[in-house]
């Protein structure tokens, strides 16, 4: 069954894209693919997975669409005559259709929420229930969001098209943002304490597919490398009891070295192209987190990379990370200056990562009272149980430091 599931997943994007072209309608294409996948689950266990599962699914889906069209007497609306069953699908044409499908789902005329939901549902093939669960919203809400998005695709004339050259970079960035949002949602802890490696794996799968269509694209390569570096450590980030494990305490033997090596190769290759961008910088930072042993992290280098990222993104959240890295590298004074500057740029009163870092930096500077106040505030705003547990465990530590100093 695992082979069949993998074959279905591997064929999904191209098959739905080809069926979308054939039917002219996204909803019909999804239904036809669903039908073809159900047939595959009936036949493949006995007959074996065909040599070309994508072609099999496309042909089966097309027959389904033709049946429906005949029943509705609308054959003329199909965009082409069904190909003979022996026809090999034209892979480069299908790849173009796969791109068109991605750009439909990630169209900026759709809200970001809708882009993410559509991408996970239509392209990655997650159920509405699973997508809703991942984003902590009721299934009904997610279904309504998908319905609105599908309706807008039809009524606003969002095309099944590859953007014009001058629009392509911006539109491709939108697709990268969607992948990044999906990965982040998987990587950030959920209220019930679980990180969601499956969602991270979907984001990686999407990036791999997109990279196949835009080989060598620098920022896309950077994004994929960054996700692989992070994903490689996911088993070490959480203890057996679900508690959050900080980098310095992680068991490096739980890291996935295959993924780390792949990410490193991608990163080395793309950095050689000298087309810098924020995803590549973040990949380089993630690489340093995976380098050597968890206790030997090169924090000075990480701080320098965050400095670059600050210029690339102009986002005060990046400054918080830079401050944390500076503090770890043994420069708490510098860290405090960066943190205070960030504080003047945005309101971080209720932002957990800021408060935790402020507590840590003040602790290093020998300001135990301020440190403790920040930590208590951090505890008050953190909802995630595993992170709360971690922070609560650190409070007495900070008190001890207070004793040492006074």
């Amino acid at each position: 069954m695992a082979t069949i599931d993998a074959a279905l997943k591997g064929a999904r994007l191209r098959a739905i894209a080809a069926l979308r072209r054939f039917s002219g309608d996204l909803d019909q294409a999804e239904d036809a693919f669903q039908d073809a996948a159900e047939r595959a689950l009936q036949h493949w266990p006995n007959d074996g997975v065909p040599d070309n599962p994508t072609g099999w699914l496309i042909q089966t889906g097309k027959r389904r669409l033709i049946d429906i069209a005949r029943r509705q007497q609308r054959q003329t609306q199909l965009t082409e005559e069904p190909a003979a069953e022996t026809d090999e699908p034209n892979l480069s044409a299908i790849d173009d259709d796969a791109l068109r499908l991605i750009f439909t789902c990630c169209h900026p005329a759709l809200s970001e929420d809708a882009q993410v939901a559509l991408t996970l549902k239509v392209i990655a093939g997650l159920s509405a229930h699973d997508v809703a669960l991942a984003f902590l919203i009721p299934t009904r809400t997610l279904e309504q969001r998908l319905d609105r998005a599908r309706r807008k695709i039809r009524t606003a004339g969002i095309p099944f098209a590859i953007p014009q050259d001058q629009e392509l970079p911006e539109r491709l960035n939108a697709a990268l943002s969607v992948i990044y949002l999906i990965f982040n949602q998987g990587y950030s802890a959920r209220a019930d304490g679980l990180i969601q490696p499956a969602l991270c794996a979907e984001a990686i799968w999407l990036a791999r597919n997109l990279l196949r269509l835009f080989p060598g694209h620098a920022e896309l390569t950077g994004l994929l490398a960054m996700m692989l570096f992070h994903h490689a450590r996911h088993r070490a980030r959480q203890s057996a009891t679900g508690a959050f494990v900080p980098l310095a305490e992680q068991d490096a033997s739980l890291w996935n070295t295959t993924l780390i090596n792949e990410a490193q190769a991608l990163l080395d290759h793309v950095l050689g192209k000298h087309a810098p961008g924020p995803f590549q910088t973040q990949a380089a930072i993630a690489a340093l987190h995976c380098a050597n042993d968890p206790q030997g992290t090169d924090w000075a280098q990480i701080a320098a990379l965050y400095d670059i990222l600050e210029h690339q993104l102009a986002n005060p959240v990046v400054s918080i990370n830079r401050a944390a890295a500076l503090c770890e590298s043994g420069d708490p004074e510098g860290a405090l200056a960066v943190l205070e500057h960030a504080q003047s740029q945005a309101n971080f009163e209720n932002y957990g990562p800021f408060l935790v870092n402020a507590a840590n930096i003040h602790s290093h500077l020998g300001h135990p009272k301020r440190s403790r106040a920040y930590m208590e505030r951090a505890l008050a705003v953190t909802v995630h149980p595993a992170e709360r547990e971690y922070l609560a465990a650190r409070l007495p530590e900070l008190s001890e430091q207070k004793l040492d100093i006074t």
Binding site: T155, A156, G157, I158, P159, A161, P163, Q164, E167
Partner: protein, 116 residues
Amino acid sequence: MQYVMLIYNAEERWAALSEAEEAKIMAGHFAVMEQSQKDGTYIGGNRLVDVGAATTVRNHSGKIIVTDGPFAETKEQLGGYYVFECDNIDQVIAYAGMIPQEDTGSIEIRPVFEMD
């Protein structure tokens, strides 16, 4: 399908534009008209007189009520519109992108309802 492009401007801001800034925006409009006529997508379009000339009419159960001004006081006012016949929204987005907005306003794209 047909699309209407609704152009909203903060009229106060518009009135304060320098001649050069206004000329830049007008050049954008001329470029849209030229390009859409070349593409064969141009149906029509007009600039509107400012909301100082607006009149609102309501028909409440047969009682006609005429009042001075736009139907809602908003930061940005409808200043003009285009109508295009395009294959899809991307072409309209490209036209909208040809008009410099700076901080004076925004453009809304709406498909025209088609009777079956």
